[in-house]
């Protein structure tokens, strides 16, 4: 059997994984392994998982995605799932599944912004601490 792989792309400080094929159980587990190893190899700060091409997500696949998120967090990368289809979101909620281990964003662009914002917030916080005066103090 040919081994299939989902490509993992490094984009600046993030890993980008776009799932464009039907995710069967074996492929899902392989992906989970690959991503965890790739985070260690690249030292990525974030993981963006694009699921916009997935049209059915059952509890098993949802669980694998949650596990991928958990693994990523432990390895120091922030997991963000982007492009979840509305019907899937409704189905998951109705089943009682949650995406508790990952952050979510509407689409890839929003996902990248989320990662950038996180970086900027960090910078701003540092700036604020360094500022000697507040607005009120000036008066």
């Amino acid at each position: 059997m040919e081994s299939r792989k989902i490509p993992i792309i490094k984009l600046r400080d993030n890993l980008l994984v776009s799932i464009q094929v039907e995710l069967d159980d074996q492929l899902a587990l392989t992906l989970q392994d690959d991503i965890t190893h790739e985070i260690v190899k690249t030292g990525a700060m974030g993981l963006i998982l694009d699921v916009s091409a997935i049209n059915i997500m059952d509890s098993y696949i949802a669980r694998v995605i949650n596990n991928i998120g958990r693994n990523a967090r432990i390895m120091g990368a922030r997991p963000v799932v982007v492009g979840l289809q509305p019907a899937i979101a409704i189905t998951l909620v109705e089943m009682g599944m949650e995406m508790e281990s990952v952050d979510t964003a509407l689409n890839l662009e929003a996902g990248l912004e989320l990662m950038e914002d996180a970086g900027e917030d960090w910078d701003e916080e540092e700036d604020e601490e360094g500022e000697p005066f507040r607005d009120g103090d000036e008066q």
């Binding site: 069967d24 159980d25 059915i56 059952d58 509890s59 289809q85 409704i90 189905t91 109705e94 009682g96």
Partner: protein, 237 residues
């Protein structure tokens, strides 16, 4: 009695339909009604005659078949000769035949053997197609396919071998989709715990059955030492 030589013209709605590569038997049926309501004259009266012919040909009004509709058309054609000129009928019929030629019967049932993980994908995709063809909303189609996926996965994981059968379901005038997941495995021991949501499997969350039950309208389980049969139905709203 001849009300002029003007043959029937399909409405804009029907004409628009013809631009598609195929139409459903239900859509063909509405073309039949439109055509013969015109040919037979008075709307109320012609409706009665058309419905009589459906009954005579053994064609259901809700779920007509292409072949059945052919019969209906032939019979109605004979009836129309009392009201319209032969020329008018022939011209009208040739327009209706266009619709017949475009009609494609959709198979609203599927049986998928479940042995490997790949079969899970096959079965849920079959369910998705059937649910779509039956007119379920996008969200409901997703719920149905997800439920099939859960049940098929349980077969692969716990029984090893089984079958998923998808069919049309009926409750009075309400149509729906029925999923039957059958396996010849060892049966479900702790069924009550699973249904109460108390059970958690080692590697998962024991969500398959409970999850499916939440997504569908009903889910019944028969289980014993020689196998398990789960029947689940969701109706069109």
């Amino acid at each position: 009695m001849n009300s002029g030589p003007n043959p029937w013209k399909p409405s804009d709605e029907l004409r628009h339909m013809l631009k598609r590569t195929s139409i459903t038997p239900n859509e063909l049926s509405s073309a039949v009604f439109e055509c013969f309501e015109y040919l037979l004259g008075k709307p109320g009266f012609s409706q009665v005659i058309i419905k009589q012919q459906y009954k005579k040909a053994g064609v259901s009004l809700e779920t007509p078949t292409k072949e059945g509709l052919r019969k209906v058309i032939d019979n109605l054609e004979k009836h129309s000769t009392t009201f319209q000129s032969q020329e008018c009928i022939q011209l009208s019929k040739s327009r209706l035949v266009q619709f017949v030629n475009h009609c494609k019967e959709q198979d609203l049932s599927a049986m998928v053997d479940i042995n490997t993980e790949a079969d899970i994908v096959t079965s849920r995709n079959a369910g998705l197609e059937i649910a779509k063809a039956m007119g379920f909303s996008g969200t409901d189609c997703n719920k149905i396919a997800t439920a099939i996926s859960e049940l098929a996965r349980n077969i692969v994981r716990y029984a090893g071998k089984g079958v998923v059968v998808i069919n049309e379901a009926r409750n009075g005038s309400t149509k729906g989709i029925e999923i039957v997941a059958k396996d010849w495995g060892p049966g479900i021991e702790n069924l009550d715990d699973i249904l109460n949501g108390d059970y958690q499997s080692k590697d998962g969350m024991g969500m398959g059955i409970v999850g499916s039950k939440r997504l569908m309208d009903s889910l019944d389980i028969e289980t014993g030492k020689t196998g398990t049969t789960i029947r689940s139905v969701k109706y069109l709203r």
